[in-house]
């Protein structure tokens, strides 16, 4: 379980958990679960397109994730963010369906892209993931205060001269970065559970933003490590474990905070 090809899986899993746990706190603060679900789904089209022209699916993800994130931000900047998200996601997926119909991809490979594959990570992809994750963490550190303030009150932020529209776009790019890192391992359909479940559970327990990030990372790490191990042992898809364990954390945290009241 810890040798050979699995080394990459553990390494990438760890990277993904850290970065998703940190960024997820802002996802939950900003009520951005739909966007975080939509961007990875949209990036699926990129992966399908990449396999069509014979390049690594990570390249496709890296192109389509920011395109999806920025179109959601741009078209939804005045109002109806949810409607625009639904439409952008659907359109990108339609493109994905088209690319699939052109290619001779096996169902198993498409399945892996949608629901995750711990064994599919090459060395090159590992280094790319590490680089992207580093960039995402650096971006969070740099944007930390404006990101937090705009999440609390756009008006108070505007009075301090923050352009919340700009911060929002930067946040979407951040989501795209995490997407590119995480989708090859966790899959396009279930990546968002890592960015919603652990932070939602963490915030029920911890009161400060930094503390919530730390606990959220810890929960994400446990979730992903357990999922990788279980997926390796049972041979069942990792997405199954990530999705159900993520939901279980939220239920447990809700029960915990209900008991304390």
């Amino acid at each position: 379980m810890f040798s050979g090809i699995m080394t990459n899986a553990w390494a990438v899993g760890t990277i993904v958990a850290v970065v998703a746990g940190v960024v997820g706190v802002f996802v939950v603060l900003r009520s951005a679960a739909f966007v975080v679900h939509g961007v990875p789904l949209s990036s699926f089209a990129g992966a399908a397109g990449a396999s069509l022209i014979g390049v690594s699916s990570v390249v496709g993800l890296a192109v389509f994730a920011p395109v999806a994130a920025l179109s959601i931000g741009w078209f939804g900047r005045r109002r109806r963010r949810d409607v625009v998200t639904a439409l952008v996601v659907a359109t990108m997926l339609g493109l994905g369906a088209l690319f699939l119909s052109w290619s001779n991809e096996y169902a198993a490979q498409i399945y892996a892209l949608l629901f995750g594959d711990v064994l599919g990570v090459t060395d090159a992809e590992l280094w790319l993931s590490a680089g992207l994750a580093g960039a995402a963490l650096l971006a969070v550190a740099v944007m930390y205060r404006p990101l937090l303030l705009t999440s609390v009150s756009a008006e108070a932020a505007a009075a301090r001269g923050i352009r919340s529209g700009l911060v929002d776009m930067l946040f979407l790019v951040l989501v795209a970065l995490v997407t590119t890192t995480a989708v090859p391992v966790v899959g396009a359909l279930l990546m968002f559970t890592l960015m919603v479940g652990p932070p939602a559970a963490a915030r029920a327990v911890v009161r400060s933003p930094i503390g919530a990030m730390a606990l959220s990372v810890a929960i994400a790490l446990v979730t992903l490590w357990a999922s990788i191990a279980a997926s390796y042992v049972t041979n069942w898809p990792i997405g199954f474990y990530v999705g159900t364990i993520g939901a279980a954390w939220v239920l447990a945290a809700r029960a915990w905070s209900a008991l304390r009241r």
């Binding site: 951005a32 679960a33 949608l114 359909l189 939602a200 999705g243 939901a247």
Partner: protein
């Protein structure tokens, strides 16, 4: 194009597509007014669970979509989708758990059967493969959906505008909300048959959002959304049929691609014109 209307799969597709477009338009207007696009999208995704389960049990996927759609709609309502605060986390958590389960069922589908198509069929739809028997079933469900909206129209509209006002007038707001979500679940299961589970929200939300840009009257918006959806679906079927010999693969391009592309372009066009007009 010769033989287009003689082909049985095409006729089935046109009929099933028409039913779907009309119901989606009618229900979709309320989804947009109520700001429940994420719930609509999630119910579509969750149809995957029903579709993959039906594949595994070897029953008509339509009933898998419908069953799961209705059950999950209820679960989401209980989890707190009706509150504006925190509802997207609630939706996300239910969605995550159910998608995880779908992953498992699809995995069993791909490992237990020799046909590799379950994932693709369930997720992206294959209208040309719909059986002729499915049409009366879909039409029945569709009629029930439209009838449902007609019956709850006024209380639903009132409670969408202001839940407080509605409950002051004696509308059972939570029951109406639950009933409506179940309706969305049924509608999305119909659209899942046409364009697949992960694309079904496009047909639910796109035409409705477009129509609501053009008129503020809910009744007119419903009619408009139905027409836009109908045009997109039928044009999608025709184009998909016509694309049989198109490059690069010389196989038909998927219907879902055309439908979604037409819906999106229409929305963008109307949005741009509406902005210019102001």
């Amino acid at each position: 194009m010769t033989g287009f209307f003689q082909s049985d799969p095409v006729r089935v597709a046109l009929a099933a597509g028409a039913v779907t477009a009309v119901v989606s338009g009618v229900v979709g207007v309320f989804v947009v007014i109520r700001g429940q696009s994420f719930a609509g999208h999630a119910l579509g995704d969750l149809g995957t669970l029903g579709g993959s389960g039906a594949f595994l049990a070897n029953v008509n996927p339509l009933w898998g979509f419908v069953g799961v759609g209705a059950v999950v709609a209820g679960a989401m309502e209980l989890f707190g989708v009706q509150r504006r605060r925190g509802r997207d986390v609630a939706t996300g958590v239910v969605l995550g758990a159910a998608l995880g389960l779908s992953a498992l069922l699809l995995y069993f589908d791909t490992t237990t059967s020799t046909t590799t198509g379950a994932t693709i069929t369930v997720l992206f739809g294959s209208l040309f493969a719909a059986s002729p028997q499915a049409v009366p079933e879909m039409a029945g469900l569709g009629a029930a959906g439209v009838l449902g909206v007609v019956v709850v129209f006024r209380p639903l509209l009132l409670s969408s505008v202001s839940p407080d006002l509605a409950s002051a007038r004696g509308v059972p707001v939570r029951a109406v909300a639950l009933g409506f979500l179940v309706l969305v679940g049924v509608t999305v299961s119909l659209t899942s048959m046409v364009v697949g589970t992960i694309l079904s929200p496009a047909l639910l939300i796109g035409p409705a959002a477009t129509a609501l840009r053009l008129t503020r009257r809910p009744g007119a918006a419903m009619a408009g959304a139905a027409v836009i959806g109908l045009i997109a679906t039928w044009a999608g079927i025709v184009l998909s049929y016509a694309s049989d010999h198109w490059p690069p693969a010389h196989r038909g391009w998927p219907i879902s691609f055309f439908v979604v592309a037409i819906v999106f372009v229409t929305y963008l066009g109307v949005e741009l014109v509406a902005r210019r007009a102001r």
